[in-house]
């Protein structure tokens, strides 16, 4: 399963085929970019053995941190940190209460829609020619929905994204145990997982998607939920198993 084979006669005498495990080392070292990095990141999500190999290599390379010379940052960094930490917590937690009554109804409807869309996608025969698209009036930014289906515990989580406000709402996610956090990821056009935040285990989660991540939230993009240590993955990439996935679709 060595993802790729070198072209015949690639590099003289030692044209040994690429070893599958080298990709784990390459990802941990950080030499991959573009498509190769995307392929390796997908393997992290899909293959726990590969994910473990990446972790092992990260730990090996971490020994090199010893050699890194120190440099003093300016005092402004600590002052700014104090201000950031003391600032009131982000908008996400103080989302307007009045939406809370409407939300369960929307969630119920949209999860049905998302489920039926998935049904259509699953049953559709292999794409021969692109089907004629129904004409949709696109005066407003299009709401996107997804049913994030859990493989095991917990029912599907319905997600609704409003590009107009950057708000992403999700129904209750009961996947995480007490010692875990369920973290939501978007895998969009760049094929790289970006964290959107942690999911509440009780009740609705409302996330404000950062401007950087908004570009990734488009129809066809994947929402995935991984189980991380409490507080979420510190590395910026999923470390734990992916327990649920769903595709964003237009309503």
């Amino acid at each position: 399963m060595s993802g790729h084979t070198p072209p015949p006669g690639a590099h003289g005498p030692d044209s040994a085929g690429a070893d599958p495990d080298v990709a784990a080392a390459e990802l941990a070292l950080g030499v991959l970019d573009g498509g190769e990095r995307a392929v390796a990141l997908r393997r992290v999500l899909a293959d726990p053995n590969f994910a473990r190999a990446v972790e092992t290599w990260r730990a090996y390379f971490a020994q090199l941190f010893d050699l890194w010379p120190e440099m003093a940052p300016s005092g402004a960094v600590l002052e700014r940190l104090d201000r950031t930490i003391d600032a009131p917590v982000g908008d996400a937690t103080t989302a307007p209460r009045r939406a809370s009554l409407l939300w369960p109804a929307i969630a119920a409807v949209t999860s049905l829609i998302a489920a039926s869309l998935l049904f259509v996608v699953l049953l559709r025969p292999a794409p021969v020619a692109p089907p004629a698209k129904p004409v949709v009036a696109a005066a407003r930014p299009e709401i996107l929905v997804a049913a994030i289906d859990a493989e095991k515990a917990g029912g599907p989580v319905a997600a609704v994204y409003d590009p107009g406000t950057g708000g992403l709402r999700l129904t209750e996610a009961r996947m995480a145990q007490a010692h875990q956090s369920a973290e939501l990821w978007i895998i969009g056009a760049d094929a790289t997982p970006h964290s959107l935040g942690l999911l509440r285990t009780d009740g609705t989660t409302v996330l404000r998607v950062s401007p950087v991540n908004r570009a990734q939230l488009a129809a066809g993009a994947t929402l995935a939920i991984s189980l991380e240590a409490v507080g979420g993955s510190p590395t910026g990439l999923p470390q734990g198993p992916v327990v649920a996935k769903g595709t964003l679709s237009r309503v």
């Binding site: 690639a10 590099h11 030692d14 690429a18 070893d19 495990d21 080298v22 080392a25 390459e26 070292l29 950080g30 030499v31 991959l32 970019d33 990260r58 730990a59 090996y60 390379f61 971490a62 020994q63 090199l64 941190f65 010893d66 050699l67 890194w68 010379p69 120190e70 440099m71 003093a72 940052p73 300016s74 402004a76 960094v77 600590l78 700014r80 940190l81 950031t84 930490i85 956090s181 991380e228 240590a229 409490v230 507080g231 979420g232 993955s233 510190p234 590395t235 910026g236 990439l237």
Partner: protein, 200 residues
């Protein structure tokens, strides 16, 4: 693996004992930061910011960006230190990994590719210090260094540069003025040899 603290010989050499004590102190500060202890967070910053700034500065290549990234790194640490598991990584490894990943993210988001090394970043040492004051003080610490020493110079240098500068295959190939395929071949063969050595 690394949490065999009770069995760790105390006072092997003064250096090792000091390193162990420093690591335990840092672990405690990190755990207390996870409990939202601001004093501990400040102490953690004082102890580690020069190390982490060294990392973000080298990879970002400019002071302002490196300080912005450093700020984000410590905000992440403040929010996520509750997730730190002492049994899985030494505290400085955990912190440094966050700093390196964030700096690389910043760099990859830049459209301009930097192909030359940064002029004013301090040099990276060739060898590991026998016992550093903050980093892992266990017996595994020097294994990678020994294995790297066993590689061909060009393989070793490419791997080191990739790690310390956060460079990709494409960056490395431009820097060394070799075709991309050649650079990949050097690094891949180096990594294979490294794995044999580390597993052996």
């Amino acid at each position: 693996m690394t949490d065999a603290r009770p069995a760790e010989p105390i006072g092997h050499t003064p250096d090792t004992a000091a390193a162990t004590a420093a690591r335990e102190h840092l672990t405690e500060m990190l755990i207390r930061t996870g409990e939202e202890d601001r004093q501990a967070f400040r102490e953690l910053y004082t102890l580690t910011s020069a190390k982490l700034f060294g990392i973000t500065f080298r990879i970002c290549g400019e002071r302002q960006a490196a300080e912005d990234v450093l700020h984000d790194v410590y905000v992440t640490i403040w929010k996520r230190s509750g997730a730190y598991e002492p049994s899985r990584a030494s505290p400085i490894t955990w912190l440094a990994t966050i700093a390196r990943n964030r700096a690389i993210d910043w760099r990859r988001a830049q459209t301009i590719r930097r192909s030359s090394p940064i002029e004013d970043a301090p040099d990276i040492a060739d060898r590991a210090p026998l016992a550093s004051d903050t980093i892992v003080a266990d017996q595994e610490a020097h294994r990678l260094h020994a294995c790297l020493d066993g590689l061909e110079t060009r393989q070793r240098e490419a791997i080191r540069t990739a790690f310390f500068d956060g460079t990709t295959y494409a960056d490395l190939a431009v820097q060394q003025n070799v075709p991309l395929g050649t650079m990949k071949s050097w690094v891949r063969r180096g990594l294979l040899k490294l794995r044999e050595c580390l597993d052996g």
